[in-house]
């Protein structure tokens, strides 16, 4: 991650509002784009300020325009914390809103485009938001100094109040207008971390979005209602790669409330006055599908193919020494072959989007995770200049990777649905849960074939052959992750081990399958973390070593991994894996997205032999902890999300057709299956790194490693419960 050093050198006055707006220096083209976007807003009066992060209003509220989508991981609160810290604001005056789509102003500094993912929100915003806050503070102080006729250096700011020793004091709102007329300082000094009052402080802030989400008042995309709006559902092919051959809408159009039926690129769209008429219309629709180009292999066939491929030479993704030679001479070769199913993200709010457009422009409103590319996609399909298309990011009901679409398929479908019915007819596109689970873009199915050797209590060789689909190869995003023909997201966490093994080799096979796949919370680590952490545990057991001490002895070059492993062992009062009184403990430690997480799971066998996870201890090192309670929440949630899928999650294909249709068959973790979780955040002065994903990878192997001590072995095929493959 390189957080560009962007100087906050330009002030921007929101005319007529008496508000102080702090913006970034931006090139002329960016200004033009922003200005045009601001001028056109068909949905109503403009309420946001483009090209700015901080807005301070006369009513004393400080609104942070957040460039990252909020769907649970806390960027609204996190980025507002960074601003408030340097501004010395009172937390009660802080607000957060999504920034508009504008790549010149709101690019993710880790990506170069506006978008959220890879657990980068805090990491790439840490300096940028602090500078935005510090600049605002400096200008308010200057305005107060001029008003009070005292030196600026004599003014202090605390909890949103400016004070001078003479007794003069005032709040931000009083100086907002005056400050907005000042020149922004070219440079601002950021606080020394020792001066932090909010960053890293327990109990200093509450989530800004909790009240709305606890009262049903928060507006999600699915809640949008506008006059004349139509609700749209789309009939999509039952197999991936299928196409519409023909359709008959006669019966569908007889349904009360069905307004129109149109063929679009992704299927046949049914337009209704509400969701139920649209659904009934789709039910009555007769579509004949052309499946000549469709993927017809099922999970069983794919796994058999992958297993065979894993036994052939692949592309070398990492190696040192000559592992094959060592294995060839070993007295005993230890093998494990792990099979990971397709997984759906199944965010609670299914995919949806709202669009209104005409020849003058368009307004799209949805949970956009890649604003820059989605904005372009919508403009292209509607044949409108980009500056006439406005994209408003909505709070979204979860993502877990699902809304970050390499293919832009949702934005494209939304634009197609709107275009097909014509201008001046607002549409709300909604996917049902069945659409979601049958809709592809899954975590790819993977096979890992591991081979290792142990001699005299030491691990001497390790090979890993990885087989699965790449969701990057052949896409416009290829440059992001593909080097020398290897998609890094397929092998991350597996092509370099944190453990010292003399002879090592990792190979990869990228398969061609017609099933659309996508990153899924923690990406490659969802499978590599399991394979590596189960196999190291197995080899250590073979070598007669303790799972914790054995790991520590091999990870000398990774002090932060050592730190979390030691911390979690301390928390759990680790005394070997057990079992004790029917409960065993398993450990796993994974670095992902520059954060380090170790977990210990205490597991027994419950009713019907199902694993019962009683407690999870979790130690995390994510650099400087900005919001400790949000970090804790992400560890808790990551553990629950990971656990639910490791135990129950699978999206099976039967002759190319998805089998699990809804939550009755796509089993999701429920409250009685959630373990107690204890989290420790390690103190650190390193740059902050992400927490949205890194809680996920260790839980699966930690549970598996406990099961191995309960006589069940480490499950070779996931999910652990009720797997059909």
């Amino acid at each position: 991650m390189t957080a560009h050093d962007i100087s906050l050198s330009r002030r921007n006055l929101l005319k007529g509002t008496g508000a102080l707006v702090i913006g970034l220096s931006l090139p002329q083209s960016g200004r033009a784009q922003s200005g045009a976007a601001q001028a056109f807003r068909p949905g109503g009066a403009a309420t946001f300020a483009p090209n700015a992060f901080v807005r301070i209003a006369a009513d004393d509220t400080v609104t942070v325009l957040v460039k990252h989508i909020e769907f649970g991981q806390g960027p609204f609160t996190g980025l507002a914390t960074l601003v408030a810290e340097e501004l010395d604001a009172d937390w009660g005056q802080m607000r957060a809103e999504h920034a508009p789509a504008d790549v010149k102003l709101y690019a993710n500094l880790a990506f170069g485009v506006q978008g959220t993912g890879g657990s980068t929100a805090i990491a790439n915003s840490f300096e940028q938001m602090r500078k935005a806050g510090a600049t605002a503070r400096a200008m308010l102080v200057q305005a107060a100094a001029e008003a009070w006729k005292v030196p600026a250096g004599e003014i202090t700011v605390e909890k949103g109040v400016l004070k001078h020793a003479s007794g003069k004091q005032g709040r931000f709102g009083e100086f907002a207008e005056a400050a907005s007329k000042l020149q922004a300082p070219a440079e601002v000094k950021l606080k020394d971390p020792a001066q932090f009052k909010l960053i890293g402080k327990e109990g200093a802030v509450n989530r800004l979005d909790s009240p709305g989400k606890s009262t049903g008042k928060t507006q999600f995309t699915i809640d949008i209602r506008t006059p004349e709006m139509l609700t749209v559902v789309v009939a999509r092919p039952p197999r991936f790669g299928g196409k519409v051959a023909s359709f008959d809408a006669t019966e569908a159009k007889k349904i009360k409330g069905v307004v129109d039926v149109q063929q679009i690129g992704s299927g046949v769209a049914v337009y209704g006055t509400g969701m139920w008429p649209a659904l009934k219309g789709r039910e009555a629709l007769k579509v004949t599908w052309d499946e000549s180009g469709a993927e017809k292999r099922g999970s069983r066939e794919l796994i058999a193919e992958y297993r065979a491929l894993a036994r052939t030479p692949g592309t070398v993704a990492g190696k040192h020494g000559d592992a094959e030679a060592v294995l060839g001479k070993a007295d005993k070769v230890i093998e494990a072959e792990y099979v990971f199913p397709y997984l759906a993200h199944a965010p609670m709010e299914p995919l949806d989007g709202y669009l209104e457009w005409n020849a003058q422009g368009a307004l799209a409103r949805f949970g956009s995770q890649f604003q820059t590319t989605e904005h372009q996609t919508i403009a292209t399909i509607l044949e409108l200049p980009p500056e006439k298309v406005q994209l408003e990011t909505m709070l979204a009901g979860g993502s877990f990777g699902r809304r970050a679409q390499v293919s832009q398929h949702l934005a494209a479908e939304l634009a197609m649905v709107g275009k097909a019915i014509g201008p001046n007819r607002p549409v709300k596109l909604v996917w049902t849960r069945e659409d979601d689970l049958a809709g592809g873009y899954y975590r790819p199915l993977f096979v890992h074939r591991m081979r290792g050797a142990v001699k005299d209590g030491k691990i001497t060789a390790w090979t890993n052959s990885i087989v699965g689909q790449s969701f990057f190869l052949g896409t416009p995003f290829e440059a992001m992750t593909v080097k020398n023909g290897i998609d890094a997201t397929m092998v991350e966490g597996a092509n370099e081990l944190p453990y010292e093994v003399a002879d090592f080799r990792c190979e990869v096979h990228a398969t061609k399958v017609g099933v659309p796949t996508l990153w899924w919370r923690s990406v490659g680590h969802t499978h590599t973390g399991y394979a590596v952490e189960c196999f190291i545990d197995q080899l250590l057991q073979e070598a007669g070593q303790d799972p914790v001490a054995g790991r520590l002895a091999l990870m000398g070059k990774h002090p932060r991994l050592v730190g979390v492993l030691k911390a979690v062992a301390d928390m759990a009062k680790w005394n070997g894996p057990g079992p004790v009184d029917g409960r065993a403990r398993g450990v796993a430690v994974v670095e992902s997205f520059n954060s380090y997480v170790a977990q210990i799971a205490e597991v027994s066998l419950g009713a019907g032999g199902e694993p019962k996870v009683h407690k999870v201890w979790c130690a995390v090192d994510c650099g400087i902890a900005v919001n400790p309670d949000i970090i804790r929440a992400q560890m808790e949630g990551g553990i629950g999300f990971g656990l639910g899928h490791i135990l129950y999650g699978e999206l099976t294909l039967d002759q190319g057709r998805p089998v699990q249709a809804n939550f009755d068959s796509y089993r999701s973790l429920r409250i009685h299956e959630m373990p107690e979780v204890e989290v420790r955040i390690l103190p650190s002065t390193e740059k902050p790194s992400g927490v949205g994903e890194p809680g996920v990878p260790p839980i699966g192997p930690a549970v598996a490693n406990a099961l191995a001590r309960l006589g069940r072995g480490r499950p070779l095929s996931l999910p652990m419960v009720g797997g059909t493959v």
């Binding site: 769907f71 649970g72 991981q73 806390g74 509450n206 979005d209 909790s210 709305g212 989400k213 606890s214 009262t215 049903g216 008042k217 928060t218 507006q219 999600f220 699915i222 809640d223 209602r225 609700t231 009360k256 409330g257 006055t273 509400g274 969701m275 139920w276 008429p277 199944a346 965010p347 609670m348 709010e349 299914p350 709070l395 979204a396 009901g397 979860g398 993502s399 877990f400 909604v430 849960r433 069945e434 309670d629 949000i630 929440a633 808790e636 949630g637 990551g638 629950g640 999300f641 656990l643 809804n662 939550f663 009755d664 999701s668 973790l669 429920r670 409250i671 009685h672 959630m674 107690e676």
Partner: protein
């Protein structure tokens, strides 16, 4: 046909097909969008409302079957149990994405109305019909216990 239903103390007349689920009547016809759609098959609990005070999955209840029953949605919550639960939800920062939380809050209030001091087992039984894909369950449990303490006074 036209159905007359009592929602949050007001009688609404809606002209929809008999099989229209209450959920879509609430959301699309009456404009009460606090009640969410998550699955449509009574598996996730995001659409939980009260029918004569009892939790109901509104996605699977046809409007024609409601009759004289009184429906309450999250928009009309009142009373000390509701206050205690919603305050505890904020205090513990329970929500992440927040989409399921209307349903979670409705189920939690119903539990505390029925059982003043629920055990973990009571919470498991009352809340296991409400899915949370963010897995905020640790905090849901803590917030319910906390709300129970508040109600104890």
């Amino acid at each position: 046909m036209v159905h007359s239903i009592n929602i949050n103390g007001t009688t609404h007349r809606v002209d929809v097909d008999d099989d229209t689920p209450l959920l879509w009547v609430l959301r699309d016809n009456i404009g009460l969008t606090g009640t969410k759609f998550g699955c449509g098959v009574a598996q996730c609990g995001a659409c939980t409302v009260y029918m004569d005070g009892q939790p109901l999955r509104s996605c699977s209840m046809p409007v024609s079957a409601i009759g004289e029953a009184k429906i309450t949605t999250i928009e009309a919550l009142a009373g000390k149990e509701a206050q205690a639960v919603q305050a505890a939800w904020v205090k513990h920062d329970v929500p992440q994405c927040g989409y399921c939380q209307s349903g979670q809050v409705m189920s939690a209030i119903a539990l505390l109305t029925e059982i003043r001091k629920p055990t973990d087992r009571d919470i498991d039984l009352a809340m296991n019909g409400n899915l949370c894909r963010c897995a905020t369950y640790v905090r849901i449990r803590a917030a319910i216990h906390d709300a129970a303490r508040t109600l104890e006074g």
